[in-house]
């Protein structure tokens, strides 16, 4: 029996991706097999690589008292899309909470001058205004203030598990009654700082990435934002809202193993998958699709494959898994939220997207690596998996509707 006060549902999904603004736009692009990863040279002098960029982002008007970083701009556009998606006007969200993850914050607004001669940098016209968006908390404020939303605001930063973690914590907050509705998700732009950082770690594939392939060479960075409108089923029912999906389970763990590398056996991730299934009260046999973290780095993908072997051991059939980072790269703090949106898309359409460029998959008998054509089947339950630097893992399980 469903407890409508303890059931968290998704009543809107807003997306800004390299495909454009909107879930439909992303879905059409991905189902057509279009890859947004492209050679890039202009992100900083000397950079040559492959990224996926958002073009034609509708920008917020700035004045003498406000300046928005690209992280803010992406999040605000996604939040606008999410609210519009519900069919309700802005006043319906006045008491809502805002929980938005990011890792970049306002790093897009500053440059090396801030470290070389801070006082001179701050005295340059406009820089005090630019730097105000630096703290990673600013994104939640920018969204809240832009739409006049006055519920609790929270920014999350858990490296590449940020977006999924924001959704998990927002679900907890709804169960606590902290707000009637929460806009939850993540946002991150491309910027020289992070691009240079991943480049220095030799984690970037110079060509479009090949997650889970034996010959994978690393990841590509992308940018974007996804915001989910979350509420309890009781609230959604009272408002006669269109329930797009049910957030059946969520969990967070940490590997406690290394600052950048995952635990080789994927133990922390396997635990996280198990905990999310316990919360959802489902078995491994009931999950029919996993949207993987699947960065394409040698260490991540093997640890993740091992985690699936452990977590889904005993399943009647191999677990279907794909990495949609092969379409538009790794969007860091937005990745978990964008992939939650893709998982919801899969649950609603029954279309399981393949991993692009997966030619020679990692040997993993318990996993059905989706590749080639889009697979179509009824999909009552699907899982989205995220991991990040520092060993954090977050798993979300979405279902097609209230039971």
């Amino acid at each position: 029996m469903t407890d409508i006060h303890k059931t968290i549902v998704v009543t809107g999904v807003g997306v800004v991706s390299p495909y454009g603004v909107g879930l439909d736009c992303m879905q059409a692009g991905m189902l057509s097999g279009k890859c947004c990863l492209a050679p890039t040279k202009d992100l900083y002098p000397g950079f040559e690589g492959t990224t996926a960029q958002v073009r034609g982002l509708p920008l917020l008007a700035e004045d003498s008292s406000s300046r928005y970083s690209r992280t803010d701009q992406l999040a605000t556009a996604a939040a606008q899309d999410a609210m519009a998606h519900t069919g309700r006007d802005g006043s319906a969200f006045r008491e809502s909470g805002v929980v938005i993850a990011n890792t970049v914050g306002g790093l897009t607004e500053i440059d090396t001058g801030i470290a070389k001669d801070p006082a001179a940098w701050f005295r340059r016209p406009g820089n005090l205004l630019r730097v105000a968006s630096y703290p990673f908390a600013h994104v939640a404020d920018a969204v809240g203030e832009h739409f006049g939303i006055r519920g609790p605001r929270c920014a999350i930063s858990v490296a590449c598990a940020s977006g999924a973690t924001a959704i998990a914590l927002a679900a907890n907050m709804l169960l606590d009654g902290a707000a009637p509705i929460i806009l939850a998700g993540g946002s991150d732009p491309l910027c020289p700082f992070t691009l240079s950082g991943f480049n220095s770690l030799r984690a970037l594939d110079p060509n479009p990435c090949s997650p889970f392939d034996q010959n994978r060479k690393g990841l590509n960075l992308g940018e974007g934002s996804a915001i989910l409108v979350l509420e309890t089923l009781a609230g959604a029912t009272a408002r006669n809202a269109n329930v797009m999906a049910v957030l059946r389970g969520w969990a967070m763990t940490n590997d406690a193993f290394h600052t950048t590398a995952p635990q080789e056996q994927g133990i922390g991730l396997a635990d996280c998958i198990r905990l999310s299934m316990e919360m959802a009260e489902v078995s491994g046999d009931e999950i029919e699709y996993v949207n993987a973290h699947g960065t394409g780095t040698p260490l991540n993908d093997i640890a993740e494959a091992t985690a699936y072997e452990t977590a889904f051991r005993g399943r009647k059939h191999p677990i279907p898994v794909s990495s949609t980072k092969s379409y538009f790269g790794h969007c860091l703090g937005a990745a978990g939220a964008l992939e939650a949106a893709i998982t919801i898309m899969a649950v609603r359409s029954g279309a399981l997207l393949p991993t692009l460029r997966l030619v020679d998959p990692i040997e993993s008998p318990g996993v059905d690596w989706l590749r080639g054509e889009v697979k179509r089947q009824p999909l009552p339950l699907a899982m989205s998996v995220s991991s990040g630097f520092g060993g954090s893992n977050a798993v979300l399980i979405f279902g097609s509707g209230p039971s």
């Binding site: 008491e95 801070p118 519920g151 605001r153 999350i156 907890n172 606590d176 991943f198």
Partner: protein, 357 residues
């Protein structure tokens, strides 16, 4: 809507602050800002600074050479709080221990260092060992890694109520059975760029430029440090042998707008706190909006603890220090309202039951 949290108990306190590294409460003693010497300044510049110390001398075996000071202090403060709580981590299921960290600015020193490496060598020549240490979530990751804690690990922020936010997220994880024990941390470090920001923005107190006392002069004195609390679900904390209980967190609420007095009364659900601890915006206590709101809720007879200057210097992450300082100086037992306001950014309120230590 009133979020009535199942009570959780604060059983351990640790900190790295201008008082130095400490396990337990902070002794009541006056604190003066000290002169900045870590970088060249144009004339006298002062702040509440953490005195230099060797982390390994406080926590044996701790290696912090390549870490941002924020990570190093988070490690030290967490170890001191766990020690204060009397917890032997070997006796604990570490997969059930969460780490919740609040920061406004993250690892600013190594972020500056990374920018400097880009300035010196170009963006293609940056230092790979520095980059992972610049992430806002890195201090929390180090805490999990050092102590072997495999539960949820989350870094949160909020412009004005980051510390309160961390406390409520931790309480929520405990309440929903997603952890049995949580290490809650909040803090920031003061770097050259951050201080320059305040300086150029003209928001600093005259006390930052002048060693003579300047009463009621406005502005604020920046500070630095990391505070840590151990929080346990009430069942566990009550029965654990040797557990010290500082306070019970009963409920909490924060919002960016609305009618704070009405929402807080709803949260209190008839409770009448005998003590209000003000944190927040740095205005002189007698005229601050926080105090006015406290009087509106609790009446003129309530005991009000003013914001503490050094904790005010931590922007949005001072809440845990406000709480520790209030616990250190509390004039009464019983229920306490922990209250912060921040102009148009709203309020945060926690209802605590102060316990006999």
């Amino acid at each position: 809507m009133t979020p009535n949290l199942a009570p959780v108990i604060i059983t351990g306190v640790g900190s790295v602050s201008p008082y130095g590294p400490l396990a337990g409460l902070i002794p009541q003693s006056p604190l003066e800002p000290t002169t900045i010497t870590a970088w060249t300044t144009a004339g006298l510049r002062r702040a509440f600074l953490v005195p230099a110390f060797r982390p390994a001398s406080v926590v044996p075996g701790l290696k912090t050479r390549r870490l941002d000071r924020l990570s190093a202090w988070a490690l030290v403060a967490s170890a001191l709080a766990i020690k204060d709580a009397g917890i032997d981590l070997n006796q604990v299921d570490r997969s059930r221990v969460a780490v919740i960290f609040a920061t406004a600015f993250g690892c600013v020193e190594l972020t500056e260092a990374f920018y400097l490496s880009a300035a010196a060598n170009g963006w293609n020549g940056t230092d790979p060992s520095t980059f992972p240490e610049t992430l806002p979530s890195t201090p929390a990751s180090h805490v999990s890694l050092f102590h072997g804690l495999r539960g949820p690990n989350v870094t949160v922020s909020n412009k004005d109520f980051a510390g309160e936010n961390a406390l409520m997220q931790a309480a929520s994880l405990l309440r929903h059975g997603q952890a049995d024990l949580a290490i809650v941390l909040a803090g920031d470090t003061l770097s050259q760029s951050l201080y320059s920001w305040y300086d150029v923005a003209a928001v600093l107190s005259p006390a930052c430029y002048n060693s003579d006392p300047v009463p009621e002069a406005g502005g604020f004195i920046p500070s630095e440090g990391v505070a840590a609390l151990v929080m346990e679900s009430s069942g566990r904390g009550d029965i654990r042998s040797g557990a010290r209980s500082y306070a019970r967190l009963c409920s909490g609420r924060w919002a960016a707008g609305g009618q704070p007095a009405e929402m807080i009364r709803q949260m209190l659900d008839g409770s009448v706190p005998s003590l209000t601890v003000c944190s927040g915006n740095g205005a002189p206590c007698a005229t601050s909006p926080t105090t006015a709101l406290a009087r509106e809720i609790s009446g003129d007879g309530a005991v009000i603890i003013s914001p503490q200057t050094f904790a005010l210097g931590l922007a949005g992450t001072g809440a845990l220090f406000h709480l520790i300082l209030a616990l250190s100086s509390r004039p009464v037992h019983g229920q306490a309202l922990f209250l912060a306001t921040a102009g148009h950014s709203g309020f945060a309120a926690l209802l605590l039951e102060l316990l006999a230590i």
